[in-house]
Symmetry: none
Amino acid sequence: MSQGNTRVTAQVVHAQACPVREVLDRVAGKWSVLIIVAAAHGPIRFTELERSIEGISRRMLTLTLRNLERDGLLTRTVHATVPPKVEYELTPVARELHASLLGLTDWAERHRVTIAESRAAYDVAHGRGLDAG
Amino acid sequence: MSQGNTRVTAQVVHAQACPVREVLDRVAGKWSVLIIVAAAHGPIRFTELERSIEGISRRMLTLTLRNLERDGLLTRTVHATVPPKVEYELTPVARELHASLLGLTDWAERHRVTIAESRAAYDVAHGRGLDAG
DNA sequence: CCGGATCCCCAAGGATACTG
DNA sequence: CAGTATCCTTGGGGATCCGG
């Protein structure tokens, strides 16, 4: 840390400029978008999210929810009942994001086969076919 | 909005989420989208990409280009001249992706201020203000 | 039920040097 | 000019345990 060489590189400069980067940083996580999709139908509880998003850990669910809440994409409503009940709901901003996302999912569905074929072809053409190692 | 028994139930979001995951996996990288944007204007050379995408390393540029090529999003054209010249160009599929991406960038630009404010408010409300914790 | 705290691993990605 | 190979750091994210 203190080798006398200040390691300030140019990565800081570029970080904020691009709106593309902005949206990606916000959605980059492995789970953010899945949560948004899962919550698109209406308010949803913690455990419901946990069950509906197969494979997500409790930790990541919590972390991602906090992040989305921080960005104003989710509202968190705590019902102070004896069995705790917490509901998450998309904000209008998040709903707009979800709508824009549909364009992407549509693209993915329209081209998933083509892309898969392209990958296979590329792999074959470059040796990395079906053999391991 | 959603009060009153919205029993949509969190049926496994997988059905809807998978295409989302697909596109994310494809775009998850730190640079993929930036390259697509940079190449959106037309064929572009390796070094042109390197210069236009501030902060990218040679290694990551190469790796990401290979991946995009593998997915059929980029074509790579080698001109066997004495000074090597390689041009990358978006495929129609990638152009469609780029178009869909515009919806997201538009969203980002429309709400960047709101989101920033939300973050600031959240951070203030949760102690993590401007101090380094 | 909700979720914070801790430990740990591993893949993404940066720096650098070499090649055709 | 356009890569490739190697080393090393960083932090995302899984597993697990604990607390309200």
